[in-house]
């Protein structure tokens, strides 16, 4: 078996020798560079565009909204976001003009010589202003839905009755989370070419080639076969290259069409941080009803996220955040009301965790506060309420697979030496300037698209055998560092009992690979991997049916059978399409049912030290225990958890987006601080394996899970160390100072 082993990653050699080709490493003859001129006002009307006479504009390719041959919208869930603003400005990074020139330095000078004259309108910059409808900035129709992209209500049981019970204590508090930049080390970039015969071709850094494909079709009013999208080696994504690359691909392609030459657009760090998507800021009000023994009998949650200026993926982010807001608890009475609101910031978008880190932060902080107020042990409070097999989630989904989150929690607490440390810290802290704390969070994360999402996507994967017996996986699922190539090859290798070296994964190119859906939602290994497996089985069956092969006959026999089949039929490919399992049912109207086919379950423990002389907060130790189904590749799986935990630590105590008139004011790594090797604590990763029928070899989703736990665990540790109730992240030294001096 290759599944479960530490086989080296497929493209590892290229990555350690510098041979891997990222988009900015690719050069075409006669290629131009492109840049974007953006609005500076957060909201207004474009009155004029001025081109300073100091520039020889006839040397440049210049594009405005007027040059768009097709539709001026980015096709996603709704069609509200333009590729280029024509008359209306809705956020301060709105693209208005595109320029191309062969000399990058000259181009930069020209960018500064374009002035967008805007008649400013008053912007809406916060969740509160948007909800108060101080200005209507989206969906003006005199309905209650103005400024609201999406709204959900989830109801289970009778919350009012639970809160009216005589034997419960009621708790209520509001929690907030800030924006977070994905901060992949490779900025967004695209190269485009255009010809009348072949249409548009783009190469670039991306997670979802078919999102880009879908977006370019209406922009150029071209048919399916006239738009080709090719993923280049991608230097990290984390959601930041899910929907945004469509916009950049469109820009590069518009310039390429007009210039008649290849055009490369690579964002610099400042532009990438300021203009592209970030994690949605959120506000969550949690009300709970708890019996004196610690039974959580009612949860009433109001969850609001800031979607920025356009709808983009906010409804889906809101959905995941809503469903995860009640946590891994079997609370009988739950009401969740959630809204995604419009503001005049650049659209917020996909980022690992996708709404769940926000609402989980609120609930896990809240439960620690409840435990503290009721003098209950926070461990006992969680354990008493953990969902068990046969019980239901907030959407009334019955958990059918075995789950033992208490065991996962015990494992994490033991590895962290939680009890002894807590006792020691409580004894030492009163006499110490450096206070130490230990805290934890327990949570679940659904794998794959929410609700009916996978059914709607109906993803397709292909597997192709070559005459030499090598097998190629054909999927649009991208390798972005997480290990897609390796995991797919492992799955095929074990399914076909062929050596790992005989399995290749095709570079995603929409001309060659079917639409296996976007590389998001912790779905690649579990959902797409399962399709890879079934396509591989189908391929082998074709050879068996031809009478030329028997499973396990070996590589030589397989190669001979492939050669014979291909000689006769020309090629050997097999495709597999997603079918919703019969027992997975979802009601989109009532928001009830099986929100996800399966969940991963986790308990994270953080240890912190807080220097009360400097207010510096450090995370000193971290234990991440989780049940993720079958671990397909232990090193890659640990890598996912370790990397996600580090991002979560940044989310909790380092990474602050400073907003000024709707624009990121600290768009650089100098003062937007992500954890360095000197900041990251030892991260110990523990796995439980409860194989799930929904993934290949029992695998479940894993990628987003580690983003959910660190922030509440760390803030709970800070709360323990200082006997305070911090309710907002990022929690920086200045926030701590303000809290303790209050």
């Amino acid at each position: 078996m290759i599944v479960g082993t530490k086989i080296p990653r497929k493209e590892g050699l290229q990555k350690v020798t510098g041979a891997a080709r990222y988009v900015d490493d690719i050069v075409f003859p006669d290629m131009l560079h492109g840049v974007t001129v953006r609005s500076t006002a957060p909201r207004g009307k474009i009155k004029a565009i001025h081109f300073a006479p100091s520039i020889r504009w006839n040397e440049f390719t210049v594009i405005t909204a007027k040059d768009i041959p097709g539709k001026n919208y980015v096709a996603l869930i709704t069609y509200d976001q333009p590729f280029l603003a024509d008359t209306v400005i809705n956020h301060p990074e709105e693209p208005v003009v595109l320029l191309a020139h062969h000399d990058k330095h000259v181009l930069e000078e020209a960018r500064r010589a374009v002035t967008i004259e805007v008649e400013a309108l008053p912007p809406v910059l916060t969740i509160e202003e948007s909800l108060a409808k101080t200005q209507i900035v989206w969906g003006q129709d005199n309905s209650p839905h103005e400024n609201i992209f999406k709204e959900y209500t989830v109801v289970k049981g009778d919350v009012a009755a639970a809160f009216a019970r005589q034997d419960v204590s009621l708790f209520e508090a509001e929690y907030a989370t800030g924006a977070q930049e994905q901060l992949y080390i490779e900025n967004n970039g695209m190269i485009a070419t255009y010809s009348a015969q072949d249409g548009v071709t783009v190469w670039g850094s991306m997670q979802c080639p078919y999102y880009v494909h879908k977006g370019l079709l209406p922009l150029f009013a071209l048919g399916d076969d006239k738009v080709r999208v090719i993923q280049t080696e991608t230097g990290g994504g984390f959601g930041g290259k899910e929907e945004y690359p469509t916009l950049l691909a469109g820009h590069a392609a518009l310039l390429a069409m007009k210039a008649g030459k290849p055009v490369k657009m690579i964002y610099d760090r400042q532009e990438d941080m300021a203009a592209t998507t970030k994690r949605h800021p959120s506000k969550t009000r949690v009300k709970s009803a708890v019996t004196k023994d610690g039974d959580l009998v009612g949860l009433d949650i109001d969850f609001v996220i800031d979607g920025g200026a356009y709808n983009t993926l906010s409804p889906v982010v809101l959905s995941r955040g809503t469903i995860h807001s009640a946590g891994p608890y079997h609370t009988p009475n739950v009401r969740v009301h959630s809204r995604a609101v419009a503001t005049n910031s650049p659209p917020h978008g996909a980022f690992r965790g996708f709404g769940a880190p926000q609402s989980i932060f609120a609930l896990e902080r809240h439960l620690d506060e409840v435990a503290r107020k009721m003098a209950l042990d926070p461990v006992a409070l969680r354990k008493r309420n953990f969902i068990r097999q046969g019980e239901t989630t907030a959407t009334s989904q019955t958990i059918r697979e075995p789950v033992d989150l208490a065991a996962v929690l015990d494992k994490a607490l033991a590895a962290a030496d939680y009890d002894a440390k807590k006792k020691r810290f409580l004894a030492m802290n009163p006499s110490s300037v450096v206070k130490r704390g230990i805290g934890f969070a327990t949570f679940m994360h659904g794998a794959g698209f929410t609700g009916s999402g996978e059914k709607t996507l109906a993803s397709v994967v292909g597997v192709e055998a070559l005459a030499n017996g090598h097998v190629r996986v054909l999927a649009a699922s991208t390798e972005i560092g997480q290990g897609t190539n390796t995991v797919f090859a492992q799955i095929v290798s074990d399914t076909l009992a062929l050596p790992y070296d005989m399995i290749d994964v095709a570079q995603p190119d929409t001309r060659d690979v079917p639409n296996s859906g976007p590389t998001v939602a912790s779905r690649t290994c579990m959902v797409v991997g399962k399709l890879v497996q079934s396509a591989a089985i189908g391929l082998e069956q074709t050879l068996v049916n031809a009478g030329d092969y028997k499973h396990g006959a070996g590589a030589d026999a397989f190669a001979a059978a492939c050669a014979k089949y291909i000689a006769k039929h020309g090629s050997l490919k097999c495709y597999s399409q997603y079918q919703q399992p019969a027992n997975v049912e979802w009601d989109d109207k009532k928001y009830q049912g099986d929100a996800y086919a399966t969940y991963a379950w986790a308990a994270y423990v953080a240890e912190v030290s807080v220097d009360m002389a400097t207010y510096e907060i450090r995370c000193d130790d971290f234990v991440a225990a989780q049940e993720i189904g079958r671990v397909v590749h232990p090193v890659l799986a640990e890598g996912q958890i370790e990397g996600g935990v580090a991002q979560g630590i940044g989310y909790a105590i380092y990474e602050k987006v400073v907003w000024k008139e709707g624009r990121m004011a600290n768009g650089q790594m100098t003062n937007y601080i992500m954890p360095t090797s000197a900041d990251a604590p030892p991260i110990r990763v523990l796995f439980d394996e409860q194989p799930s029928p929904h993934g290949p070899f029992g695998a479940k989703g894993i990628g987003e899970l580690p983003m959910d736990g660190p922030a509440p665990a760390i803030l709970n540790a800070i709360a323990m160390a200082l006997d305070v109730s911090p309710r907002a992240i990022p929690f920086l030294p200045e926030d701590l100072m303000a809290l303790v001096k209050k």
């Binding site: 530490k6 990653r9 493209e11 590892g12 050699l13 290229q14 990555k15 350690v16 020798t17 510098g18 891997a20 080709r21 990222y22 900015d24 490493d25 520039i55 020889r56 040397e59 000399d103 330095h105 000259v106 930069e108 000078e109 500064r112 994905q182 992949y184 080390i185 490779e186 900025n187 991608t234 230097g235 990290g236 994504g237 984390f238 610099d268 760090r269 972005i480 560092g481 997480q482 290990g483 090193v635 890659l636 640990e638 890598g639 370790e642 990397g643 996600g644 580090a646 991002q647 650089q668 790594m669 100098t670 992500m674 954890p675 360095t676 090797s677 000197a678 990251a680 030892p682 991260i683």
Partner: protein, 171 residues
Amino acid sequence: MEAVVSDAPETLMALTLTVNGDRVRVAVSPTRTLLELLRYDLGLTGTKQGCDKGDCGACTVLLDGRPVNACITLALSVEGARVDTVEGLADGPRLHPLQDAFVRLGAAQCGFCTSGVLLSAKALLAENPAPARLQIKQALSGNLCRCTGYTKILDAVEDAARALCSKGQQP
């Protein structure tokens, strides 16, 4: 910095340096950075541009054995120097122990920071063949990685240090 004015003819100046053991003579503009020289003039694209401000370390190369951010090093300032990049790490088909450890232990995920990390680690091991974990953390603190949380990178550097020590090799 003032933008380059399009009318001004570029004054090119001669530069001689040694890159990955090869002597190189080029004519460069005074505004050319070492990173631009490597990537655009010499085609050594293994060295990456992540921020262009000296913040992220993706462009780290060795200048006479010391790690520097190539993006904020002017090309003309390295006259006569020895520059080592990721392309020069392996000995033909034989990977450097750091490269080997990075592949085996999962220290490279997306790979974009990897070149810079490898060179910072190489400089560390040259100076300190058996570094403590904390020393590795400090030596790599100028190389940002968003994928790994650093654990596997630190493991790989320790592994390579052991391999180099046991072979009695110079890093």
